[in-house]
Protein backbone atom coordinates (compact mmCIF):
# COMPACT_ATOMS: atom_id res chain seq x y z
CA UNK A 1 0.00 0.00 0.00
CA UNK A 2 1.45 3.45 -0.87
CA UNK A 3 2.45 5.65 2.08
CA UNK A 4 -0.23 8.24 1.33
CA UNK A 5 -2.93 5.56 1.32
CA UNK A 6 -1.54 4.08 4.53
CA UNK A 7 -1.65 7.50 6.22
CA UNK A 8 -5.20 8.09 5.05
CA UNK A 9 -6.20 4.64 6.35
CA UNK A 10 -4.75 5.54 9.76
CA UNK A 11 -6.64 8.87 9.80
CA UNK A 12 -9.94 7.20 8.90
CA UNK A 13 -9.36 4.46 11.49
CA UNK A 14 -8.83 7.05 14.23
CA UNK A 15 -11.92 8.98 13.12
CA UNK A 16 -13.97 5.76 13.23
CA UNK A 17 -12.61 5.03 16.73
CA UNK A 18 -13.90 8.46 17.82
CA UNK A 19 -17.29 7.95 16.14
CA UNK A 20 -17.51 4.49 17.75
CA UNK A 21 -17.24 6.02 21.23
CA UNK A 22 -19.87 8.64 20.37
CA UNK A 23 -22.20 5.98 18.94
CA UNK A 24 -21.86 3.79 22.03
CA UNK A 25 -22.64 6.82 24.20
CA UNK A 26 -25.69 7.68 22.08
CA UNK A 27 -27.07 4.13 22.17
CA UNK A 28 -26.59 3.86 25.94
CA UNK A 29 -27.38 7.37 27.14
CA UNK A 30 -30.43 8.00 24.94
CA UNK A 31 -32.63 5.27 26.47
CA UNK A 32 -31.56 6.39 29.94
CA UNK A 33 -32.62 9.98 29.17
CA UNK A 34 -35.87 8.72 27.65
CA UNK A 35 -36.64 6.76 30.79
CA UNK A 36 -35.74 9.71 33.01
CA UNK A 37 -38.05 12.03 31.05
CA UNK A 38 -40.81 9.41 30.97
CA UNK A 39 -40.67 9.07 34.72
CA UNK A 40 -40.56 12.88 35.07
CA UNK A 41 -37.19 12.65 36.80
CA UNK A 42 -35.72 15.33 34.53
CA UNK A 43 -38.38 17.78 33.41
CA UNK A 44 -41.42 16.09 31.88
CA UNK A 45 -42.88 14.77 28.66
CA UNK A 46 -45.25 17.73 28.49
CA UNK A 47 -42.32 20.11 28.23
CA UNK A 48 -40.71 18.29 25.33
CA UNK A 49 -40.69 19.48 21.80
CA UNK A 50 -40.94 16.62 19.39
CA UNK A 51 -39.03 16.84 16.15
CA UNK A 52 -41.26 15.34 13.49
CA UNK A 53 -41.06 15.16 9.71
CA UNK A 54 -44.26 16.74 8.40
CA UNK A 55 -45.68 18.25 5.27
CA UNK A 56 -47.25 21.68 5.54
CA UNK A 57 -49.18 24.10 3.41
CA UNK A 58 -50.31 27.62 4.09
CA UNK A 59 -53.28 29.11 2.28
CA UNK A 60 -54.25 32.72 1.84
CA UNK A 61 -57.60 33.97 3.17
CA UNK A 62 -59.10 33.56 -0.29
CA UNK A 63 -58.03 29.89 -0.28
CA UNK A 64 -55.15 30.21 -2.74
CA UNK A 65 -52.09 28.27 -1.68
CA UNK A 66 -49.29 30.55 -0.49
CA UNK A 67 -46.59 28.04 0.22
CA UNK A 68 -46.09 24.31 0.80
CA UNK A 69 -43.29 21.97 1.61
CA UNK A 70 -42.03 19.32 4.01
CA UNK A 71 -39.29 19.04 6.57
CA UNK A 72 -38.36 18.49 10.21
CA UNK A 73 -40.66 20.57 12.42
CA UNK A 74 -40.52 21.04 16.19
CA UNK A 75 -43.98 20.30 17.53
CA UNK A 76 -45.20 20.80 21.08
CA UNK A 77 -47.26 17.74 21.90
CA UNK A 78 -48.48 16.08 25.05
CA UNK A 79 -48.79 12.69 23.35
CA UNK A 80 -46.54 10.20 25.12
CA UNK A 81 -46.77 7.84 22.15
CA UNK A 82 -45.57 10.52 19.78
CA UNK A 83 -42.73 11.38 22.12
CA UNK A 84 -41.77 7.73 22.55
CA UNK A 85 -41.94 7.09 18.80
CA UNK A 86 -39.86 10.15 17.98
CA UNK A 87 -37.05 9.34 20.38
CA UNK A 88 -37.39 5.60 19.86
CA UNK A 89 -36.80 6.25 16.14
CA UNK A 90 -33.55 7.99 16.98
CA UNK A 91 -32.52 5.00 19.10
CA UNK A 92 -33.23 2.54 16.27
CA UNK A 93 -31.24 4.64 13.80
CA UNK A 94 -28.43 5.02 16.39
CA UNK A 95 -28.22 1.23 16.70
CA UNK A 96 -27.98 0.87 12.91
CA UNK A 97 -25.26 3.55 12.87
CA UNK A 98 -23.34 1.76 15.61
CA UNK A 99 -23.52 -1.51 13.66
CA UNK A 100 -22.10 0.22 10.56
CA UNK A 101 -19.31 1.89 12.56
CA UNK A 102 -18.34 -1.45 14.16
CA UNK A 103 -18.08 -3.14 10.74
CA UNK A 104 -16.10 -0.28 9.18
CA UNK A 105 -13.81 -0.06 12.19
CA UNK A 106 -12.92 -3.75 11.86
CA UNK A 107 -12.22 -3.33 8.12
CA UNK A 108 -9.96 -0.31 8.63
CA UNK A 109 -8.14 -1.96 11.51
CA UNK A 110 -7.35 -4.87 9.21
CA UNK A 111 -6.18 -2.49 6.48
CA UNK A 112 -4.10 -0.32 8.83
CA UNK A 113 -2.30 -3.46 10.07
CA UNK A 114 -0.88 -3.65 6.57
CA UNK A 115 -2.95 -6.56 5.35
CA UNK A 116 -4.93 -6.80 2.13
CA UNK A 117 -8.71 -7.05 2.05
CA UNK A 118 -9.73 -10.46 3.39
CA UNK A 119 -12.92 -12.46 2.91
CA UNK A 120 -13.98 -11.31 6.38
CA UNK A 121 -13.54 -7.66 5.40
CA UNK A 122 -15.59 -8.20 2.24
CA UNK A 123 -18.34 -9.81 4.31
CA UNK A 124 -18.35 -6.84 6.71
CA UNK A 125 -18.63 -4.39 3.80
CA UNK A 126 -21.60 -6.42 2.55
CA UNK A 127 -23.24 -6.03 5.97
CA UNK A 128 -22.69 -2.26 5.75
CA UNK A 129 -24.51 -2.32 2.41
CA UNK A 130 -27.47 -4.13 3.96
CA UNK A 131 -27.51 -1.64 6.83
CA UNK A 132 -27.58 1.29 4.37
CA UNK A 133 -30.55 -0.26 2.56
CA UNK A 134 -32.28 -0.99 5.88
CA UNK A 135 -31.74 2.60 7.05
CA UNK A 136 -33.28 4.07 3.92
CA UNK A 137 -36.18 1.63 4.11
CA UNK A 138 -36.95 2.00 7.82
CA UNK A 139 -36.42 5.75 8.29
CA UNK A 140 -39.22 6.90 5.93
CA UNK A 141 -41.70 4.46 7.52
CA UNK A 142 -40.87 5.76 10.99
CA UNK A 143 -41.08 9.35 9.72
CA UNK A 144 -44.58 8.80 8.35
CA UNK A 145 -45.78 6.89 11.38
CA UNK A 146 -44.39 9.52 13.73
CA UNK A 147 -46.13 12.26 11.77
CA UNK A 148 -49.50 10.50 11.95
CA UNK A 149 -49.19 9.97 15.71
CA UNK A 150 -48.22 13.59 16.36
CA UNK A 151 -50.98 15.01 14.16
CA UNK A 152 -53.58 12.85 15.86
CA UNK A 153 -52.82 14.79 19.05
CA UNK A 154 -52.18 18.19 17.56
CA UNK A 155 -54.83 20.89 17.26
CA UNK A 156 -53.89 23.49 14.70
CA UNK A 157 -55.35 26.89 15.48
CA UNK A 158 -53.68 28.81 12.70
CA UNK A 159 -56.10 29.64 9.95
CA UNK A 160 -55.05 28.33 6.58
CA UNK A 161 -52.23 26.15 7.96
CA UNK A 162 -52.50 22.47 7.15
CA UNK A 163 -50.12 19.80 8.36
CA UNK A 164 -49.98 16.26 7.03
CA UNK A 165 -47.74 13.21 7.52
CA UNK A 166 -44.87 13.05 5.06
CA UNK A 167 -41.92 10.86 4.25
CA UNK A 168 -38.75 11.28 2.27
CA UNK A 169 -37.74 8.23 0.28
CA UNK A 170 -34.09 8.48 -0.70
CA UNK A 171 -33.79 6.13 -3.69
CA UNK A 172 -30.19 7.17 -4.23
CA UNK A 173 -29.44 5.98 -0.71
CA UNK A 174 -31.11 2.64 -1.40
CA UNK A 175 -29.18 2.14 -4.63
CA UNK A 176 -25.96 3.18 -2.88
CA UNK A 177 -26.55 0.38 -0.37
CA UNK A 178 -27.23 -2.08 -3.18
CA UNK A 179 -24.05 -0.97 -4.97
CA UNK A 180 -22.04 -1.53 -1.78
CA UNK A 181 -23.50 -5.06 -1.53
CA UNK A 182 -22.44 -5.80 -5.13
CA UNK A 183 -18.96 -4.36 -4.52
CA UNK A 184 -18.58 -6.53 -1.42
CA UNK A 185 -19.20 -9.56 -3.65
CA UNK A 186 -16.44 -8.38 -5.98
CA UNK A 187 -14.07 -7.90 -3.01
CA UNK A 188 -14.95 -11.38 -1.73
CA UNK A 189 -13.98 -12.89 -5.08
CA UNK A 190 -10.76 -10.83 -5.09
CA UNK A 191 -9.91 -12.09 -1.59
CA UNK A 192 -10.51 -15.67 -2.73
CA UNK A 193 -8.24 -15.19 -5.78
CA UNK A 194 -5.57 -13.61 -3.58
CA UNK A 195 -5.68 -16.52 -1.13
CA UNK A 196 -5.38 -18.97 -4.01
CA UNK A 197 -2.45 -16.97 -5.40
CA UNK A 198 -0.74 -16.98 -1.99
CA UNK A 199 -1.01 -20.77 -1.85
CA UNK A 200 0.25 -21.25 -5.41
CA UNK A 201 3.87 -22.46 -5.19
Amino acid sequence: MPDSARMLTQVVKRFLDFVFILSIAAVVIWPVLMLAFWLNLIGGVDEMRIETYLGFSLAQPDGAQLLHGKGDLDVVSASRYAWLLSYGTREVLSVISLFVVIQLRAVFKSLSDGGAVTAGDASRIGKVGFAIVAWHAIAPCLQYLGGRVVLADLESNVAGLQLHPALELDLIGVFTGLAVIVLSGVLLEAARIREEQALTI
Binding site: E196, L199, T200, I201
Partner: protein, 68 residues
Protein backbone atom coordinates in the same frame (compact mmCIF):
# COMPACT_ATOMS: atom_id res chain seq x y z
CA UNK B 1 -16.35 -37.65 -3.46
CA UNK B 2 -13.99 -34.88 -4.73
CA UNK B 3 -10.52 -36.20 -5.51
CA UNK B 4 -7.34 -34.35 -4.64
CA UNK B 5 -3.67 -34.35 -5.60
CA UNK B 6 -1.14 -35.61 -3.07
CA UNK B 7 2.45 -34.31 -3.17
CA UNK B 8 4.87 -37.15 -2.37
CA UNK B 9 7.66 -34.86 -1.23
CA UNK B 10 8.29 -36.71 2.05
CA UNK B 11 8.80 -40.07 0.32
CA UNK B 12 11.08 -38.65 -2.39
CA UNK B 13 13.21 -36.73 0.12
CA UNK B 14 13.64 -39.93 2.11
CA UNK B 15 14.60 -41.96 -0.99
CA UNK B 16 17.07 -39.28 -2.17
CA UNK B 17 18.40 -38.86 1.39
CA UNK B 18 17.83 -35.12 1.16
CA UNK B 19 16.51 -32.66 3.73
CA UNK B 20 13.93 -29.98 3.08
CA UNK B 21 16.60 -27.32 3.67
CA UNK B 22 18.88 -28.86 1.02
CA UNK B 23 16.00 -29.05 -1.44
CA UNK B 24 15.10 -25.43 -0.68
CA UNK B 25 18.66 -24.31 -1.53
CA UNK B 26 18.71 -26.41 -4.73
CA UNK B 27 15.32 -25.32 -6.03
CA UNK B 28 15.28 -21.70 -4.83
CA UNK B 29 12.02 -22.00 -2.94
CA UNK B 30 11.63 -20.87 0.65
CA UNK B 31 11.22 -23.42 3.42
CA UNK B 32 7.77 -21.97 4.09
CA UNK B 33 6.60 -22.66 0.54
CA UNK B 34 8.08 -26.16 0.54
CA UNK B 35 6.35 -26.78 3.83
CA UNK B 36 3.03 -25.68 2.29
CA UNK B 37 3.61 -28.20 -0.52
CA UNK B 38 4.68 -30.94 1.87
CA UNK B 39 1.65 -30.55 4.15
CA UNK B 40 -0.82 -30.54 1.26
CA UNK B 41 -2.02 -26.98 1.81
CA UNK B 42 -1.00 -25.74 -1.63
CA UNK B 43 -3.85 -24.81 -3.97
CA UNK B 44 -1.78 -24.91 -7.17
CA UNK B 45 1.76 -25.43 -8.42
CA UNK B 46 3.43 -23.56 -11.27
CA UNK B 47 5.01 -25.55 -14.09
CA UNK B 48 8.32 -23.78 -13.43
CA UNK B 49 8.23 -24.95 -9.80
CA UNK B 50 7.32 -28.49 -10.86
CA UNK B 51 10.22 -28.59 -13.36
CA UNK B 52 12.67 -27.27 -10.71
CA UNK B 53 11.51 -29.87 -8.15
CA UNK B 54 11.70 -32.74 -10.64
CA UNK B 55 15.20 -31.73 -11.71
CA UNK B 56 16.37 -31.42 -8.07
CA UNK B 57 14.81 -34.75 -7.06
CA UNK B 58 15.67 -36.47 -10.38
CA UNK B 59 12.14 -37.72 -10.86
CA UNK B 60 9.11 -37.44 -13.12
CA UNK B 61 6.07 -35.26 -12.32
CA UNK B 62 4.05 -38.47 -11.83
CA UNK B 63 6.47 -39.53 -9.07
CA UNK B 64 5.92 -36.25 -7.25
CA UNK B 65 2.17 -35.80 -7.78
CA UNK B 66 -0.42 -38.51 -7.24
CA UNK B 67 -4.20 -38.38 -7.70
CA UNK B 68 -6.05 -39.77 -4.73
Amino acid sequence: MARSVRVNLDRLLLERRMTLTQLSAKVGLTLANLSILKTGKAKAIRFSTLVALCEALECEPGDLLELE
